[in-house]
Subunit: 457 residues, 2 copies
């Protein structure tokens, strides 16, 4: 609990109207994309970094927890007040400060929505590649804090690959700058990359410098349909192994296709056991050649149908199915757990076989959705949190999947984060020595453990 | 000084023949690519990570300094025993452990020479892009520790952009693994990137996982000659500003061209005040189109001659000049200081004007060489360390250049590192709060400060 005197002190810093603590406001900020709810003590909506620095000083002195939160779309529970405290919301810090084509970079505030930013840089013929599924809602600040990925990761990488510099408010209230506008920078330890993916546990990001790339002038979208899930999976590693790097390479299995059909998202052949959705981008001539090569590849490896979008509308129609997937699955059962274990691409067929096996073993409905081209799996476990018996089986299935991914040289989480969703699994991926280093780093930045405590460390 | 008993203890770990402490051996390891010499107490050449872990335990217990060293090509003095101690040499840990085309990655030991590795992956149709000038000598371990760049940085980025995971021996002797073989990985703090560019101050790298990309099937090499240095510089920011991303975009001024001519490296027009060396790579058809577009760009912006290599031999001849530059400059005066200040590309014309102005002001011979496409300057200051009067002017010029780069939103060092060359400048780029964070991180990894002490922190 925060005393009235301290609340008044914080109100004086951010302004009365930007300090929220009515029950209805607190409820709004009590959950994010993950499954658990925690009521915060208050929510602030600061207008600039000085206000944040002022609040941090008070919070640090009074040992009040601070939880930064973008759009709250993360699905690992890294933006909820697990141990109470104040949530910082960023919707007033939502300006694009600079777009600099000659230096191929831009400077934004953390509250800028990803898709708005993409649109703004496209006007300059530029592209900001990270494209999490949440991009129409999620913020660049949240994307950096979670090191968000997305379908384009196969070719373009993830948020960290475009992050050049940051402005960060520390728990002490000090404001530091890391990195800068240059692609090359080897000055001191890479604090920029340390912040990226730190899930709000090290500092409050107040400004972000990102690298941009030229917007690809053309793209081609293909959909390959298979009678056998395994053939689809082996096509993926074959494409990558042949040195073809598509922009996106998505996989959906029969379970997901059925749900999409029922939901009215699209129709698929009765024989379809799996679909690959493939996109390439670049110069016209190149896209044409790559598209043909991929089509041949898919047919050779068992696709009985390969559709290629002839127009942007057709491409949109093909994507519609993929985009519908989460909504469709979410409508089927009360809850859907989106797993995020990621393996080296070579192991993709093996981990998909494992998912099918685990679903069968624990009698669960698990749809296989994957950013297959970079080995980033999203098994969708359809369940009901209130059914304790089924949840016990879900939990066993999760443990078995995570163990398998680690065993195959993979990771607990490719793009969703650890948060409170996977903190219990940390020792599966990291030795005690590694965890001690992370805890030590946390103490250096945040000696009183006020930043997002109860999250992954 | 290390006692005989401790020397014997370390000899027992690494084997008698791999513990060197004869004066002639120590002299060999007393300098690197930078200008200063420090005699180490001993040199060890371990055969595996367990030996390194064993030595680290002894060193940590006895507070003996440990300095890891690849090929010693770095030019910031980050691999010399500034405060005495034991140098670890890696030439026995020089195996490529795995090349995995289906997962687009490879695993190597730190002592693998960069160019050898490039050749090995090329056999699989793959490419490891980081190409520091030292690549025929320097090791991947050293490249990671220094976050090495190179000419291809414009299009492909630097070492950190290809680093996926590490195995590291800590001062405690514990061995940790960071990252892995997946492109996407958001599990815990990014210790991989924290190690990259840490200049041997946090841990000993014993295994490296890197990302690979498809080898470009074609390239085009162009040389554009200008009567005006400023026109060459503005061409660079215009090319980048137009969304064309060449593979390399190198700039040489008249001073450098003269030295190259005198050295017999190549001949240039008497009217040439600057030359741009430009390379594009990719699919045939694309390279053809981009080459033409760049040629037109150069001519529009004042190039009076644009040569395009028609054969690999011609391309080699054009590159010959650039490759000769360092050797040629080094032969002119007893010493050559290669500066490395880096600015946003937009500021390239301004920083080049500043270099010309500073050379004039302090009556110094400074050649302008630059990885211009990413704003990475390499002014070559030709001097004589024994001439204290001139060295005082060199120092003033260095300070003025560094200040100018920082003022323009740049960094102290784009790709060469801080080491003992630029540690005194750290406060120009970083606030006390940032430096305290870096020192705190150093203490977490290396509480007794045995790893490369006296280097940049």
């Amino acid at each position: 609990m925060i005393s009235d005197a301290i609340k008044d002190e914080i109100r004086a810093i951010v302004g009365h109207e930007w300090f929220l603590d009515s029950p209805e406001d607190l409820v709004t900020y009590s959950y994010d994309g993950f499954l658990r709810e925690f009521m915060p003590d208050a929510v602030i909506v600061p207008g600039d970094k000085e206000e944040i620095a002022g609040v941090m000083k008070v919070a640090n002195r009074e040992r009040i927890n601070i939880i930064p939160r973008g759009a709250g779309t993360n699905i690992c529970g890294s933006s909820v007040a697990r141990e109470g405290g104040i949530i910082i919301a960023f919707h007033r810090l939502n300006r694009i400060l600079e777009i600099e084509p000659e230096s191929m970079c831009a400077v934004v505030q953390p509250g800028v929505v990803n898709a708005d930013f993409q649109k703004a840089v496209a006007a300059y013929g530029l592209m900001y590649p990270p494209d999490p599924a949440s991009m129409f809602v999620s913020t660049i600040g949240g994307n950096v804090a979670l090191n968000a990925g997305g379908p384009r990761g196969v070719k373009y990488g993830v948020t960290r690959d475009y992050l050049l510099g940051l402005e960060v408010v520390l728990p002490s209230g000090e404001i530091i700058r890391t990195g800068g506008k240059t692609l090359k920078n080897v000055s001191g330890y890479n604090l920029t990359q340390l912040m990226c993916g730190s899930e709000g546990t090290l500092g409050i990001i107040t400004e972000i410098i990102v690298r941009l790339v030229p917007l690809a002038p053309a793209k081609a979208t293909l959909q390959a349909t298979y009678r056998d899930l395994d053939h689809a999976a082996t096509t993926v590693s074959a494409i990558i192994g042949a040195g073809i790097v598509p922009t996106t390479l998505e996989l959906m299995d029969r379970t997901v296709l059925d749900v999409i059909s029922d939901y009215g998202g699209a129709q698929f052949s009765d024989e379809a056991q799996a679909v690959l959705l493939i996109e390439v981008d670049g110069e016209d001539i190149l896209v044409e050649a790559q598209g043909k090569r991929i089509e041949a590849f898919c047919r050779e490896r068992g696709a009985f149908q390969v559709e290629r979008a002839g127009t942007p509308e057709e491409a949109d129609r093909l994507w519609q199915a993929r985009r519908t997937a989460f909504g469709a699955v979410a409508s089927l059962r009360p809850n859907c757990i989106v797993e995020d274990a990621t393996v080296p691409v070579k192991m993709l067929p093996a981990i998909i076989r494992k998912i099918v096996e685990v679903a069968d073993k624990y009698d669960l409905q698990i749809g296989v959705l994957a950013h297959a081209g970079d080995g980033n799996l999203h098994p969708l476990i359809m369940t009901d949190l209130r059914d304790t018996e089924e949840m016990a089986r879900v939990d066993q299935a999760l443990v078995e999947l995570v163990d398998a991914a680690i065993e195959m040289g993979g990771t607990l989480t490719g793009e969703h984060g650890i948060g409170i969703a996977k903190d219990r699994f940390m020792t599966k991926e990291f030795s005690q020595a590694s965890i001690q280093l992370m805890r030590g780093i946390k103490r250096v930045f945040d000696p009183h453990n006020i930043l997002n405590p109860g999250s992954f460390l």
